[in-house]
Structure formats: structure tokens, C-alpha cells
Symmetry: C2
Subunit: 665 residues, 2 copies
């Protein structure tokens, strides 16, 4: 509801068309009883609700939402329907479960706790997708009020707290392994209202009772402890006193429930779930094709080493530092992303490198050969301190790497958005040096305008589009901001026309602060399809790679669990695609954003589109995007999820239609 909805022209009262059921037609009585909560539960009575004795359907709304939905705290309930998903092998497909309390059953300030238990997904031939491995649950946590952080739910205690009047969301991901047999997999998710930890606290022994018990048992032990007993009488007396003391201990009211129960009341057995849980049916069709392990489109994403050093209090080059970088590298690889670490110098000089170890270290080969890595940055060490040692080490690096099969994935990223002729000259000098070591070296340069100080005005499109003339042969990967294009997709041909593919020149793109709404980008507060559409745009425009400047570029902090602040001057979420796990729990695992998951989905969509195009040609691939309504241009793409699944369902090797399609509108 919005205050601006109020129809004050009607004299401060709206007149409903039909007569509400209970009170008067307007004013004080306006539409009382109009929205029937649909609660079964007049049988819930007026007292405190015991969730174990009531069907959870009476206590909360449960419904599913697609992964592109931003499920806000004010999201209104929808009917609960079966979730049908489609996925290839080596693909992750996600959806969300939205939960909203109908009543409060906790007594400790929240509306109530909910337990979420998922069965394995099984096919009729007995194959499985196993919970915890292939199926994960994460809580969607708001950042700046927008659902964004995906905090893992402990599989041993899969509980979520619901607040009164707020919708919560759980992000369910299905990860289909490469070797998974195709077929229809089915399972269920049980959502059960439970007593909160605090409400069931009476069942554990409170601290002060524990201390009292301990003291009583100690004195009991003093009574009977091994010693010289002077006489049988003394022994009888000691035995009697000890047994009286023990009996008193056992009579403690805090222990009374031990007599009545078997002690396994915590386990929720199948009967309970069958009787009181809300059941969400889930089916996943695994197609008979596998997404390539190596992403078809290299997407290189920066990780700030400065931020890691500061936040985790790590000194450069220490064991902990290497371990933290390694952890981040491997964690990001799962998102079909090729990470590079980076540190900025003056005037947008940048030291970018994918592997923190030198080329002759065994780890280097492990990194660079990883088939999931589509491209890697080789450090140009002299960029920050131009010593002889740095120069020599660089030459050694290139000597080693250029002989390896993975050398075709290598690139140098030297300067972020050079702006003037001096900066262009620097790039050319470095290029000359690098090409003397390896003539086939690839240099990536990002830019959004031409250089100032040349004959063309730098802010003109002409100056921008002629940059390859200035940087040839000192740049092979011309990486331009999508912001320059705006909604003018037709300008792509002008950019591409200037390139010389025969010389190995490529066109890549990037987004950062711009473009802004309504164009695709990854700012917090944009729509989910807008996040996913960044990669649709890349594929439609035909770039052969993508760069993103930062994944962990929050404001400086010196404590792992310090509040995440976004940097001044950047739109919220820009440069931040995951969060330190320590902010949300004791886990050291990074916490993905919904935006990072949508980037993965977009990368996967590219594989679908590429597969389709390899079969029917690129024109048909583009036509598929258009006719499904998924993506027509930077300001014309679907706002709803439906067309995404329609597109994906079309791309099946068997040409068999999806047996049912999830989230059709």
C-alpha cells in the first residue's frame, strides 16, 4: 500500500464496488473482512500456539519464486505450486521459497521459526541428486533493504526465523554434476513451523541449574569418594546420605522431563513431517547435454588483494595471505568466472594477476591449466615498482608461460581506462617490452573514450571508436564500456569495423558505474532479469569476452566481521558481488549475492544460446531471444522470469519439449 493511493478526492473515503461482508461500506468500516486470510484455524484458539500440534499451513504462507525475483519483505503471498526446473549437466539452477507468517507462534519477539528439510531428488531409474552436495539452501538477507546476500543455512539445523509481517526467502540451488544421468528427478521440500530455540530452551538445562547440579554431585562424591572407611556403620551412613543426595538431584524439576521422554524429541520423524509440514513438490528435468567446463565466453572479474589484506589482517606474501587468495580464487571459479587479483596504483595503473604464485611454482600450473579458467592475467610486476628485479622476474614469467599450452588464455591488463596521450604512451612502451619477450602476447585495455591530447576531441564517439588505430599493435583486447553504447546497439558495428581479427584483435565489454537503469547492470535495487541481462546483452552484441572491475570492493575495514559499507561515489553493489562470511556467521566461506548467482545464470544462458546457434546459426539464436521476449535490446528485455525458461526449453538437443516449464506467467 502506498499513501499516494489514498483517494482523497472521494472525500477521504473510497467506495468499494461490492459490499464488504461485515461492516459498513465505507469509512471506518471500509472493507472489513474483505480479505479473508484463509486461515483454517479457528481451532487455533486464543492461547499460545504449539506448532507441533498444528498444520504449518495454518501458521505460514509458503510459495515459490523464480531466481530472478527480488523477494522483498513486503512480498505478497501467492498460491503454493509445484516447482518444475530444467537443467543441463554441469549447470546450477536456482529458485526461491518465500515464507510469510500468518500468525505468530513464537513468544520471543519473532513470529516463529521454520525448519526446511529437503529430500534427495530421485529419478525413476534410481539416480540421485543428494541434499547438501547437489542441493543447497541459503537464506536471502537484505543489504540496504534489498534482498541480496545468500547466507548458507546450516544443514544440521536448517532453520529460518520469520519476523511478524515480513516475507523471508530461501534460495534453493540444484547443482547438476557433469556425470549425472539425464532424466526426471523428483523430490520434496518439507517446511515445518517449529518451536524456536528460545521457546524450547526449557528443555535444556539452564546454566545456573547446571552449576547447582555440579556442586551437588561434587559433595555427593566427597561423601562416597574412596578413602579409608572406619566402620561398616560409617559406610552405611555414607551410602544412605549419598543416595538421599542423589535422589534429591534426580528430583530436580529441571530433570523431570527426562523420565517421560526417550530423549530424541529433537528429531523430526517422517510422521511429523507428513502430518504437519507444508510440502513443496520439486521436479528437475536433467537434459542430455553438458555445459562445457570451460566457459565459451571468458569473463574476467577482479578481486581486490588490498581489501583482503586489510579486512582479514593479512600481510602481503605470508602463508595466510596465499591461503586467502587461493580460497577466493577457487570459490569464484564455480561461477564460470575467471578471476584476477588486482591492486591499483597511481593514475589507474593496475597490477592484475590470476595466480599469486610465480610461473615456476606448481600452483601456477594448477591454476592456469584449470579447465574452468577461460583466461588468466599475467602480472606485469614493474607496473607498481619498476625495479630491475621486477623486470627480470617478469621476463622469466613470460619465458615459462609462453611455452605452455595454456598460454593462449594469457593476457596482460595494465591500465584501467587510460585517458590521455601520456597514458597511451606508457601502454605502448610496456607493449614493446612485452612483445620483445613474446610476439604473440595479448594486452587488454579498458576504455570509454578517446585519449585527450590527440587531434580528435576525446569525448566524441569518433575518438572513442578510433582507439584501435592508436593502440595497435599494443592492445589486442579492446575492452569498451557498455555505457558508451547506451541503448544504441547499432553502434556495435562501428566498433567492430575498426578491429582487425586477422591480427588477433578482439572486442570485449565491461560494465561498472554505468550503464544505469533501465539498462542491464549489477547494482543493488535493479530487477533480477536486469542483472541476468548483462550477459544476454554481451551475447547479442557479439563481444568475445567480458571484464568486471571488482567483486569484493567494499569500503576499507580491518576486521573480518566489520559491517560491509559500499564505497563513496559508487552505486550500491557496484564492485561488490560477494560478502565476507564472517559478517553473517562464524563461517569463513564468502557469501554470494543474488547478483552473482544471476551472473552465473547469464553465463549459463550464453552456453544455451551458443548451443542453439551452433545447430541453427547465430541468426536463429538471436531470433530465439527475440521471439521468446527474453532480450530485444538494452532497454527492452523481459521483466518477468517466464521468457527465460521458454528460451531454455527451446534449446534441447532432442528437440523434445520440456515436459513442463517452470514459472510460466
Amino acid at each position: 500500500m502506498d499513501p499516494s493511493d489514498s483517494n482523497s478526492a472521494a472525500g477521504g473515503k473510497t467506495q468499494n464496488v461490492s459490499v464488504p461482508p461485515v461492516e459498513g461500506v465505507a469509512g471506518g468500516g471500509t472493507s472489513y473482512g474483505w480479505v479473508d486470510g484463509g486461515l483454517r484455524g479457528t481451532n487455533l484458539g486464543a492461547g499460545v500456539i504449539d506448532p507441533t500440534k498444528v498444520h504449518s499451513e495454518d501458521l505460514l504462507h509458503v510459495w515459490s519464486m523464480p531466481s530472478t525475483a527480488n523477494v522483498s519483505q513486503q512480498e505478497a503471498p501467492r498460491p503454493l505450486e509445484k516447482v518444475n526446473l530444467l537443467a543441463a549437466r554441469n549447470e546450477r539452477e536456482s529458485f526461491q521459497i518465500a515464507l510469510r507468517p500468518k500468525v505468530s507462534w513464537a513468544t520471543s519477539g519473532i513470529a516463529g521459526s521454520v525448519q526446511i528439510q529437503c529430500t534427495d531428488l530421485c529419478s525413476s531409474s534410481g539416480d540421485r541428486l543428494v541434499v547438501g552436495q547437489s542441493i543447497t539452501l541459503r537464506r536471502v538477507v537484505p543489504i540496504l533493504g534489498v534482498p541480496d546476500a545468500l547466507v548458507p543455512i546450516d544443514p544440521l539445523s536448517p532453520q529460518v526465523n520469520l519476523q511478524p509481517g515480513e516475507t523471508a526467502a530461501v534460495w534453493v540451488s540444484l547443482n547438476v554434476p557433469c556425470g549425472q544421468p539425464p532424466g526426471l528427478y523428483e523430490g520434496e521440500i518439507f517446511i515445518t513451523a517449529v518451536k524456536t530455540e528460545l521457546d524450547s530452551r526449557t528443555e535444556s538445562l539452564p546454566k545456573f541449574e547446571k552449576y547447582r547440579l555440579y556442586r551437588e554431585l561434587r559433595s555427593c562424591l566427597d561423601l562416597i569418594g574412596p578413602r579409608d572407611y572406619s566402620s561398616p556403620e560409617e559406610m552405611v551412613q555414607r551410602l544412605t546420605s549419598a543416595s538421599t543426595a542423589l535422589r534429591r538431584v534426580l528430583d530436580n524439576p529441571a530433570l523431570q522431563d527426562c523420565q517421560e521422554s526417550n530423549g530424541f524429541g529433537d528429531m523430526m520423524d517422517e510422521d511429523v513431517m507428513n502430518n504437519v509440514s507444508v510440502r513443496l513438490k520439486l521436479s528437475l528435468t536433467v537434459w542430455d547435454f553438458t555445459l562445457p567446463v570451460t566457459p565459451s565466453l571468458p569473463a574476467v572479474f577482479g578481486i581486490s588483494e588490498t581489501v583482503i589484506e586489510d579486512r582479514f589482517c593479512l600481510e602481503h606474501g605470508t602463508e595466510g595471505w596465499y591461503s586467502a587468495l587461493d580460497h577466493h580464487f577457487r570459490w569464484l571459479l564455480q561461477y564460470r568466472i575467471s578471476p584476477f587479483f588486482c591492486r591499483w596504483g597511481d593514475s589507474m595503473r593496475i597490477l592484475a594477476y590470476t595466480c599469486p604464485w610465480p610461473a615456476d611454482h606448481p600452483k601456477a600450473n594448477e591454476y592456469y591449466s584449470d579447465p574452468r579458467l577461460a583466461a588468466y592475467a599475467v602480472p606485469y610486476a614493474p607496473i607498481l615498482s619498476c625495479t630491475d628485479a621486477a623486470k627480470n622476474s617478469l621476463r622469466r614469467e613470460v619465458e615459462i608461460l609462453k611455452s605452455k599450452p595454456h598460454w593462449s588464455k594469457a593476457y596482460f591488463y595494465l591500465w584501467d581506462e587510460p585517458l590521455n596521450v601520456e597514458q597511451y604512451d606508457m601502454i605502448c612502451n610496456i607493449s614493446n617490452e612485452l612483445r620483445s619477450y613474446a610476439p604473440d602476447v595479448r594486452i587488454l585495455t579498458t576504455y570509454y573514450c578517446g585519449p585527450s591530447g590527440s587531434e580528435l576531441a576525446p569525448s566524441t564517439f569518433e575518438a572513442f571508436v578510433k582507439v584501435p588505430n592508436v593502440l595497435r599493435p599494443h592492445t589486442q583486447i579492446f575492452c569498451t564500456s557498455e555505457w558508451v553504447l547506451g541503448t544504441r546497439e547499432d553502434l556495435v558495428k562501428d566498433i567492430v569495423a575498426e578491429l582487425r581479427p586477422d591480427l588477433g584483435e578482439e572486442w570485449w565489454t565491461y560494465v561498472c558505474m554505468g550503464p544505469s537503469d533501465p539498462q542491464p547492470n549489477w547494482h543493488i535495487g535493479m530487477r533480477g532479469t536486469q542483472h541476468r541481462a548483462v550477459m544476454w546483452r554481451v551475447w547479442k552484441e557479439g563481444g568475445t569476452g567480458f571484464l568486471y572491475w571488482g567483486t569484493n570492493c567494499y569500503e576499507k575495514a580491518m576486521i573480518p566481521s566489520a559491517e560491509i559499507c559500499f564505497r563513496r561515489g559508487l552505486p550500491p553493489g557496484d564492485g561488490v558481488l560477494f560478502y565476507p562470511g564472517e559478517v553473517f556467521s562464524s563461517s569463513h566461506e564468502p557469501v554470494a549475492s543474488t547478483r552473482l548467482e544471476r551472473i552465473l545464470s547469464g553465463m549459463q544462458d550464453i552456453e544455451y544460446l551458443k548451443l542453439y546457434s551452433s545447430r541453427y546459426g547465430r541468426e536463429e539464436g538471436l531470433a530465439l531471444m527475440e521471439k521468446t521476449g527474453m532480450y530485444l535490446g538494452p532497454d527492452r528485455y523481459t521483466l518477468d522470469h517466464g521468457p527465460v525458461d521458454v528460451m531454455r526449453a527451446q534449446v534441447t538437443p532432442s528437440k523434445r519439449k520440456a515436459h513442463s516449464i517452470a514459472f510460466l506467467p
Copy 2:
């Protein structure tokens, strides 16, 4: 931060004027390290934080906010300053404490828990305002994302949970009793980061350990329990076995902390608070004047009996029903409000009554004589069912009441916003009946337009302003919607000119759906001063009473803890000034909204303005509102709190200036 702030005209990058301390001047490095979190705590290290060993200042931001601030979850921290408040006797003055985590110290999904402990406020002459009685703490809980519900904090466990990246607020109210000696009262609030219940769960004995312990102790008892011991050898053996068993029990790791501690770790002693707590200094100047117990301006507010019956599953007329109504009546009285219960019939007929008991019941006299009650509604029972019994009972009621001293507070409220001549005729007929029982009866009629079916077009201002001509002598309290005035304060004189004070006619006003923003009203999402300004407006316009249609008019529900839904077609919060306590905890006490507290503040402001005017004249009172910038008109009033305190500080009988004024801008 707002995505629209992004300066894409600068090529997707903003250039900062001065050079940020660590990384490059733009792009990826934009302003890294620019906002120094001000954390002392490099000494916090990289591990899990133990809040008992760290100063809470390193863990969270604490700052105060005035009661008119809507402290959102995104509220940015401010410096912590001493809070200085002014209050009369018999006044409630409130402020808020905002809390925002700098780091996370809990490991269970929240950022951390905070304990809030307040000292008594003491004067130099030894007088006190006692915590729990005169000082209360409530948690500010968002409703539709806006801070609104004030949920009491358990004084025995005054803890608040903080979420990562979110600002929480605690509402502190100081209630100055009528007999409180004037003077300066000082105290402190200690805000201390603590371990969460779940994190300190390890300190209690988990359920399964408790069961194991119980079984072990039982078998130990079986060993030594009183019985015939066959021989001293057997006794020695039993004693030895039992002591071995007991020793094993005591060696259980779950009991190890009992050896090390005295068991009083839960209590936070003064030393701890002095060492690690954030201390908020608080002073309250109690003036040497007392707000009148009976509000100078009667403000009559509706309570829907239908809603109470439905939500609390109470049958009309049962003991529980009377008790629930009584509870609501007494609870609302503390807000300087004169409640009436109500039930709507067809065509906006309304049954309104202040006391659910008949006039000859002892409770009736208790209700009507209560000095805090400024006006009461007498039920016109025949409005819903016009039986002889109803008519007779009405006549009896009036006969009894008209002889009482409190009869001058009585009014009949028969119809909500009559719209046509037929409805006007009904009111006239009832009036004729009532005046035959008591010639000095007062009838209140609400309206926002003239009647349709008369010679004047009903929607014209002329038809509206002439309503007294049509309803005389059948209405004495002409209660008009502020919506009609809009921002045209000058129209007030036209309304008043039509009234006959010599016949006892009065002008009252009301707000409901309208007026809407930016005029004062009580919708959720409006500013705090906008809520408080409803009463400023009443005082400036010179009405002698005020009506509000509903305080508990949420959507129908049949369970006390059911989610609060607002009614369709009403702006959010309209007709809802408090919530059922059961939604937020096991308490049955209603939960006030911030809006209800601001209504009370506005009612108190009226007493200040009236006091000032009684001394210097009404013109000076109006000038005071204007020159402080507090209220100049329905679209010109202060958005900040400062002028409110400036106004209040001027109204001191001693003419002594406030020794310091809270929340000056």
C-alpha cells in the same frame, strides 16, 4: 546510496576532489579507505569476537534520535551525545537510542545482541524516577518496512538483537508522575554488546547431555540406593563403583566450565559495565508545572468492538469480552485520549459508546468520572436494532446520566459522515427523541460535504459550510474533516462563522484517509513531525475537540497472533494506532505505534501552548508556534525536531530558560 546518484556523464566514474588515502583516484579504487570506520579495533584480530572482552564502542554505533525521527534500518550513525530532555509533571517525554553494528560478534546469523540497562534518574535532592515504572524501553519494529510498532523490552532480559548492516532503535519513555518534585534528574543508560542466547547455549547443558546425565545418575543411585548390604566388602565395592561413576559424570566436558566459574557469569556487574559498556548520559529537567489530568482538548478515538471480538475469539457480552474492552479502555486512557467503542451498521450508522456497562452499573460511574476522560459517548442502542427494549434502555441511560456531574462530558455519535437528506432526517428524528429525554443533550456529527438532495450541490464548499443550518438544533458538535480545508487555513473562519456558540455549538475536526501528504495525518510512512503536527494544526485552527475513527481497525482475523493486515482501500496505518501484543510476543498488552506516541506528544504540546496563551494571550501562543518554526500551516511545519523543543522550552512558568535544550539542530 541511490543508483540515480551515479554520475554516468563522467564516463561511469566520478572524480573525487581530493585524493583518497589508499588506492587510485577513480575507477576500481574509487575512494577506498575514504570512510574510516573509526574502529579502534585492530586489536579485535581475525577470530570470533568475545564481546565481554572488548569495549562495546568497538562493536557498535550508539547514538540518540528524537521521538519524531523515523529511524530506518538504513539510518546512518551520528556522534553519541548526552540527551537532555524537558518535561512537566504528568507528562511523558520520549527519545530513541539508535544502534548499528560495526562488526558482527554473534555466530548465529545475527550481528550480535545488545543489553540495555538504565539507571534510575536521580536529582541532587535525592528524588528519583525509577526504571521500569517511570522509565520504559521498547523496541521499534518495522511495519511495512517503516519503524512503527513499539514492542516492550523485558526488563528482566533487556536485550535487543542487531542484524548486519541494519540500524535498530529503542524507544525510551520517561513518565513524570504528578507528584514528582521539580528539578534536574540525571542518569545513564549502559549499552553493552553481549553473547547471544544461542552463542552462550554451550554454557547450558543441551537436552541430550541432560538425558545422558540423568541415566548415569539413575544407575549410580541404583548402586548405592538403600538396601540390605550383604557385607562390608560389598559396600566398599559399591562405594568404589559409585564414586567412579560419579567422577566420570563430573568429568563430562559439558560440565567443565563449572569448575572454573562461580556460576554467576550471567550477572553483569558494575565493573563490567564501567569497563566495556557504551554510556549514554541522560538528563531530564522536570518543570514546576503539571499537565492537567483532564486533557484541555477532548480527543475521542474509536475502538472497534468487532475487531476485538473476532481476533480474540470473544463472544459479545461474555466476561472475557467485558474484560478485553476494559483492558483496551484503560490502556488508551494513558494517551490523553477519550476512547469510544464502536460498531458500524448499514449506511455508516454507528453505535458508539465509551462504557460497555449500563449507566446503573458501578463500572459506568468509574469510567465516566475518570478525570482523564475528557468526553464520553453514550450508546444510542436503537441505532442497530430499533426494538422497544432498546428504546427503553436508552431512556433509562439518559435519565441516570443527565443528573450526574459528568453529564457535561457526554455526547451521542450516531452517524459517520451522513451524505443525503434521508440520513440527515434520521439524525433529526433521533435528536428529537433524545432532546425529549434531556434538552441539553449533545450530538456529534462528522461530515465533509453538504447533503445531496438539498438545493445546494453537495460537493461545494458552500453546501458544506451551511451544514449547521440544516442540522441545528440536532447537532451540537460539528465535526468536519481537515481534508476539506486542504491548505486553506483561511476557510476556518467561514466554518466558525456559521456556528452559534451561544447555543453550545462547537467545532471539532477529524482526519482519516485524508488529508494526505504533505499535510499532517497519521499514515505510516509520513514524517514524525507530520504525525505530531495533527494536534498543532487543531490548536492553531482553534477547534475545541477532535475525533479519530479507529485505533485497532486492522483486517479481520480470528487468531490473536494473526498477522496484522491493513484494510483494503485505506492508506497504511489509517485506523490502526496500536497492535495486538500477541503478534510480537506472549504478552497480551497492546503494542503502541510510534504514531500513537506522537499523538500523545501533540496532546501534551497543546497543554504547553494553552498554558503559554493563558499567560500572554492566544495571539502570543500562535506567534510562538510561528517564530520557533514549529508550525506555520498545514504544509509549513518543521521537518526536524529542534523547533519542538525550542517551543517547549519557552513555556516555562519561571521564565527561566531551559538549562540545555535537547536535539537542537
